[in-house]
């Protein structure tokens, strides 16, 4: 899954069993080129102070190309050609920056289009209060309306199932091809999403979102960038870049009289060239592309964030709150061992356990049957003569009533003890010891009895997801604490916690405990992320700094969360955190690179333009002439933008390291690299510029 982080959209879907949204990039670049020109509109440029200054500079250099003596006598040789070249390079600088943004936006749009394809206006069967059915357009549906859908229909709006039982194909949204069973009442299975298709039977649905406000609509608006507002960190960075731009504007503007006084006059075009080279155009041109690409990466991961702010917050998460089941362990526990008590043999226990599980359709029940059969037990009774007793939260047991009034039960040890006592049976002393030994292994113990005789304990083993321990190790290195929440008893929880390598756990937890844990962490100043799906998770999802709801979850959970995982995979929370970090690292790396570049640009241009002041010896790079030095620095400045577009869109590769390791690494690459690279590149461009006779 991790490798997915660096995947481009156009690559094939991540695994053969998932359909993943295919997004067409056909024509993306042509459209981006066109957009790059359209974005030259000053109203668009005004949004980005750095690039706006380049825009003004381009106009001024264009003017001095037409009339080199516009602002006093031109001092450069061939001023029209030279100024024309500067104008051209500045124009390309603008176009490259626009192109970067357009490509990022184009990708988002492609993503949105593929989502929009799932959503078309359809005719909905609206149920009137009197029970009659009325055909209306799906756009006329309002929150609270009741609609009926039958097999083959596309569900016209988000809603809650109130009647019926049907299977629904949600692959359009989740990429998961297996149909999902929907029925009223149950938390998770009762919510349906507009745009999905009902495959069998029929449902009555209460609409929960007005048209255009549905889940998919929000998603489309976000990936398209239509609702993208700058994130807090992006705003702060824009402020700093604007200030740096202002500082250099003052430096350049005052240089005219100062250079004049020092008898080393410089032309307007050269000053503008120097200004553009010094202001942080690289990061200024790529900043919005980085932000859009970050949102897009989240979307590619089949996660929908409600705001860029939420994605950015992911990077700051210091505590992850994870449900044990489904996140840390595979959802299903499997029978691992039978431990007989009371002098019963293993085979006897297996037989009773089998009998108690013949009507149990849960994966646990099935695994008990398989294990029992392996131990030689076999079905001895006719199913039709027996009655299944379903598990309930009250009895915490399930089992079978066999003919001749024989009752076999399995369930929580306490519950079975009570059952046996009520039938005046004896509780064997060894039971507690066996039960604890199972707990100590991290398993869930189930007691098995027939009438008033306890036969033994079934050890249900929790299977920890493969690789999860390494993931937690990575998180720990990144300074992120993991807290596991589980309904298991303390002993079981502690064993699983140790085995999975989480930092802390809360045993016998209720969903309400989640919010307490979150508040406690937040009180310590930590930012908390969690996943949830049930309605009773909603307050905790809202309280968490990053709340990820499962798409299979209830509407209430999805409303409260700031992200929704379309694949309903709670483990993804870890990936989301790394995406957030990656976004911030990319922004930081390109900022550092951009500012570090100034050193080389200064050393290229200052000695060249002030050669008249006798400081030519500072031309350490040995650039051919003043004109070639200025042009080379400017060409470098323009070309570095498209050169970095792939990095801006893909993001800097994220490694799970400590902050200090990350800093050393990235400083080396983007800081030191940013100082050295332009020296080499400008020198090479200078050689090329001189060779083709541009200057």
């Amino acid at each position: 899954m991790n490798s997915q982080l660096t995947n481009l959209q156009s690559k094939p879907p991540r695994s053969p069993d998932r359909k993943g949204r295919q997004v067409s990039t056909k024509g993306l670049y042509q459209r981006a080129v066109k957009q790059a020109f359209l974005k030259l509109d000053p109203r668009v440029q005004l949004r980005n102070p750095v690039m706006f200054l380049v825009w003004i500079g381009t106009i001024v250099t264009a003017l001095v190309t037409i009339n080199p003596n516009l602002f006093g006598n031109a001092t450069d040789k061939n001023p029209m050609v030279f100024n024309g070249l500067i104008t051209l390079i500045l124009l390309f600088t603008l176009l490259f920056a626009n192109f970067a943004e357009a490509v990022a936006e184009g990708r988002g749009k492609a993503q949105a289009d593929s989502l929009r394809a799932t959503k078309s206006d359809s005719i909905a069967r609206k149920l009137s209060p009197d029970g009659s059915i009325q055909d209306v357009s799906s756009t006329e549906l309002r929150k609270g309306d009741l609609i009926k859908v039958i097999a083959g229909d596309v569900i016209p709006a988000d809603g809650e199932v109130t009647q019926g039982l049907a299977s629904v194909d949600e692959s359009a949204i989740t990429g998961e091809s297996a149909p999902v069973l929907k029925q009223p009442g149950t938390d998770i299975a009762s919510s349906v999403t507009g745009g999905t298709r009902i495959l069998s039977d029929e449902l009555v649905i209460r609409v929960t979102a007005d048209p255009g406000k549905g889940f998919i609509d929000r998603m489309i608006a976000l990936v398209e960038g239509a609702e993208r507002s700058k994130t807090p960190n992006e705003i702060a960075l824009t402020v700093l870049l604007a200030v740096l731009t202002q500082v250099f504007l003052i430096v350049i503007a005052t240089m005219l009289p100062i250079a004049q006084y020092a008898k080393a006059p410089v032309s307007i075009a050269v000053l503008i060239a120097l200004l553009v080279a010094l202001i942080p155009t690289t990061i200024g041109g790529l900043l919005s592309a980085i932000g859009i690409a970050g949102m897009d990466r989240v979307a590619q991961f089949n996660v929908i964030a409600t705001s860029g702010r939420a994605v950015e917050a992911c990077g700051d998460i210091s505590t992850l709150i994870l449900d044990k089941t489904g996140t840390i362990t595979l959802g299903n526990r499997l029978a691992e061992e039978f431990i007989p008590v009371n002098g019963h043999s293993l085979k006897e226990l297996a037989q009773v356990a089998l009998n108690a599980s013949i009507f149990d359709e849960t994966p646990e029940g099935k695994s008990i049957v398989i294990l029992a059969e392996k131990l030689g037990a076999s079905l001895t009774v006719d199913r039709s003569t027996a009655t299944g007793i379903e598990f309930s939260a009250r009895t915490r047991m399930s089992g079978t009533d066999l003919p001749n009034n024989i009752e076999v039960r399995k369930g929580a040890v306490d519950a079975v003890k009570g059952f046996v006592r009520s039938r005046s049976g004896q509780i064997p002393d060894e039971l507690d010891a066996k039960y604890e030994s199972v707990s100590r292994l991290g398993g869930t113990p189930l007691a098995v009895c027939q009438d008033n005789d306890i036969y033994g304990v079934i050890y249900l083993k929790d299977i920890i997801k493969p690789g999860i321990k390494e993931r937690f190790g990575q998180l720990r290195r990144m300074g992120i604490r993991t807290v596991m929440l589980t309904g298991d008893n303390r002993i079981t929880a502690s064993v699983i916690a140790a085995e999975a390598g989480v930092d802390d756990f809360v045993a016998e937890a209720t969903p309400e405990d989640k919010i307490e844990v979150i508040r406690a962490e937040q009180a310590k100043g930590k930012l908390v992320a969690m996943t949830g799906d049930g309605t009773n998770d909603a307050p905790a999802l809202a309280q968490a700094n990053v709340g990820v709801a499962m798409n299979s979850g209830t509407q209430a959970a999805k409303e409260a969360a700031n992200m929704v995982d379309l694949d309903s995979d709670p483990t993804k929370l870890i990936d989301i955190v790394t995406i957030g970090k990656q976004l911030l690292i990319t922004r930081g790396a390109l900022t550092t690179f951009s500012i570090a570049n100034d050193i080389a640009k200064y050393f290229a241009i200052i000695p060249a333009i002030f050669a008249g002041a006798g400081i030519g010896q500072l031309n350490v790079m040995g650039l051919a002439s003043m004109q070639s030095a200025v042009l080379s620095a400017l060409i470098y400045n323009a070309l570095i933008i498209p050169a970095l577009i792939p990095l801006a869109l893909k993001g800097v590769k994220f490694r799970p390291l400590t902050a200090n390791q990350l800093l050393s690494r990235n400083i080396l690459v983007y800081g030191l690299g940013g100082i050295i690279a332009p020296f080499i590149a400008i020198k090479i461009i200078d050689i090329a510029v001189t060779a083709v006779g541009l200057a």
């Binding site: 202002q246 430096v251 100062i258 250079a259 902050a659």
Partner: protein, 561 residues
């Protein structure tokens, strides 16, 4: 030559040894722990506070603190302006010096109020003893104390404490730090031969029978607070080059150490407030990493002397133009760097006569304002650069940037940017305008690259609140008085307001606990990164003027033109 380097090393080692001692003491004062001076000054403090109507020193919010700073400074400014303006009719004027022009009074008032002490006059002939002691001497204490109070409020806010009470901080800066040290220092200076007298100018008959007027006055105490408070405004026109301000090696030692002592120690004080002395010493390392090379470069330049003069002499000789022989090339170079680094601005040699490399170094110090930096504010600026470095590079660890456990967000970036922006505005814009107006160019004694340095130096010294000068510039005109006044005001109060508001905002933030994912700022790597950020943000801005000023002059000299 070796002797010269040993002199420099001795002073530097003394400063470093003093740093933790004085730093701890300053921290005790401002953490309101008991000090041995409490029995003496406790009642005085309380009496002062009661007089200005404060019975209980309550913590102030950011705006309250800003208000307190500005109002108290305006009141003090008006008082001093009045004294200087009315000098001819006021007492303590044994030498009967006359009145000053309004623009000079304004410039002098603002200059001392802002801890700049740029002087467009010669003290001994322009000002009465009363004006020197009661107007300027008073501001020397209060302006230094204002800076110190702001510096302390800043670190209080950064470390999540209440900013404190400005009036209490101002009072205690004087009664616990400036006054006691000045008292001891003054006695030492008097013992070393510096005069302290109310008697007027002495008329003496020389051996040749001529009559000579020898200026004197209450110099010793004035000299001490001038150095200790990083004021720099000399009693005499030629400042600490005058034998009555700085007579010998011992007085020079005391005065150099006094100049650096507080800003150096304040870094240690910050370490105590942060509970992280390692961070403090690393920041100290940044300062030394700038300071020592600048001293060495300058001293080396002076020791080598002027190549063209040496050719005429036919031998190697240090550049002693504008220097006192009793200090020589080494102590003059060290002082030149220390005085521009600390924003003291006192001089014991004429900076105009420094070799270009010295001009470069002194200018660079004032561009950066963090190589120790001004009283209180210098250390705060250092931390502003740390904050900017965290903001620029901190993202690279994958978290939104935080410093000392507090997030750096838009408000902090805006305020830090204001500090970054105001310096080039206050220096480059008036420089450019001055050069555009031909009538100003006549004051430049040495047209060309050096003349450019003279103009840039004047505004840089004003904006950085340093006060030293490239003395060749004829700066006693209305133009210079008014424009440098604006530069001094901008360079002083805009950053102070920004510092306080920034600290106030940081203090209100919920601290984020430290984890392995937190960028540690107390590492060698991050310290190095900060150094580079300082170079890029602080130096590159001024590289063009440096290139056309001292750098071009250096190439001109070496090419023998």
């Amino acid at each position: 030559m070796l002797q010269g380097w040993i002199q420099i090393a001795l002073i530097l080692v003394t400063v470093i040894i003093l740093t933790p001692l004085l730093g701890k003491y300053i921290a005790r004062v401002f953490l309101h722990e008991t000090t041995f001076l409490d029995p003496i000054f406790g009642p005085i403090d309380r009496a002062i506070m009661r007089t200005i109507g404060i019975h209980e020193a309550e913590g102030m919010s950011g705006w309250q603190y800003v208000q307190a700073v500005l109002i108290s400074n305006i009141v003090m400014g008006i008082a001093v302006f009045s004294i200087l303006f009315l000098q001819p009719i006021l007492p303590f004027n044994p030498n009967q010096v006359g009145g000053l022009t309004w623009d000079l009074v304004l410039h002098t008032t603002i200059s001392f109020l802002t801890n700049t002490d740029q002087q467009h006059y010669s003290g001994e002939t322009t000002l009465s003893y009363g004006s020197q002691v009661f107007a300027l001497g008073f501001l020397m204490f209060t302006s230094a104390a204002t800076g110190l109070a702001v510096g302390i409020a800043f670190i209080r806010g950064l470390t999540g404490r209440s900013l404190g009470n400005f009036y209490q901080d101002l009072t205690q800066s004087i009664t616990r730090i400036l006054l006691p040290i000045s008292f001891v220092g003054t006695l030492l200076l008097i013992a070393s031969g510096i005069p302290e007298t109310w008697a007027g100018t002495a008329q003496v008959t020389t051996l040749e029978g001529a009559t000579q007027a020898i200026a004197r006055g209450p110099v010793a105490h004035f000299e001490m607070i001038k150095q200790l408070g990083e004021n720099g405004g000399g009693f005499f026109g030629i400042n600490s080059a005058h034998p009555f301000e700085n007579s010998n090696g011992l007085t020079n030692f005391i005065e150099t150490v006094a100049m650096v002592a507080i800003p150096s120690s304040l870094i240690y004080t910050y370490g105590i407030f942060m509970g992280n002395l390692r961070q403090a010493w690393l920041v100290y390392g940044i300062v030394l990493a700038f300071f020592i090379p600048l001293v060495v470069m300058t001293a080396w330049g002076e020791f080598q002397g002027n190549g063209q003069v040496n050719t005429l002499l036919g031998s190697m000789a240090p550049n002693l133009e504008g220097k006192e022989i009793r200090f020589g090339w080494s102590l003059s170079s060290l002082w030149a760097i220390a005085t521009t680094a600390t924003m003291c601005g006192a001089v014991n040699a004429m900076h105009d006569s420094l070799m270009p490399i010295g001009g470069f170094s002194t200018l660079l110090n004032m561009f950066l304002q963090i190589v120790w930096g001004g009283q209180g504010t210098g250390t705060a600026y250092l931390f502003i650069f740390l904050i900017l470095a965290v903001f620029l590079t901190g993202l690279m660890v994958g978290r939104t940037p935080e410093f000392l456990g507090r997030k750096i967000e838009k408000a902090e970036v805006v305020l830090a940017s204001v500090i970054l922006l105001i310096h080039p505005i206050a220096i480059l814009i008036p420089t450019a305008i001055t050069l555009l107006l031909p009538e100003n160019l006549t004051g430049i004694s040495n047209p060309g690259f050096h003349g450019l340095s003279q103009v840039v130096y004047e505004y840089t010294s004003a904006a950085a609140n340093n006060g030293s000068g490239f003395q060749g510039l004829g700066n006693g005109t209305i133009w210079w008085n008014l424009t440098t006044s604006v530069a001094m005001l901008l360079g002083r109060y805009v950053p102070i307001v920004a510092l306080i508001l920034l600290a106030d905002g940081m203090q209100r933030k919920q601290p984020v606990p430290m984890t392995d994912g937190t960028l540690r700022t107390d590492t060698g790597l991050f310290t190095g990164v900060t150094g580079v950020v300082i170079l890029i943000l602080g130096v590159l801005t001024f590289l063009p003027v440096l290139a056309l000023g001292p750098i071009a002059e250096a190439f001109q000299l070496s090419s023998g033109l």
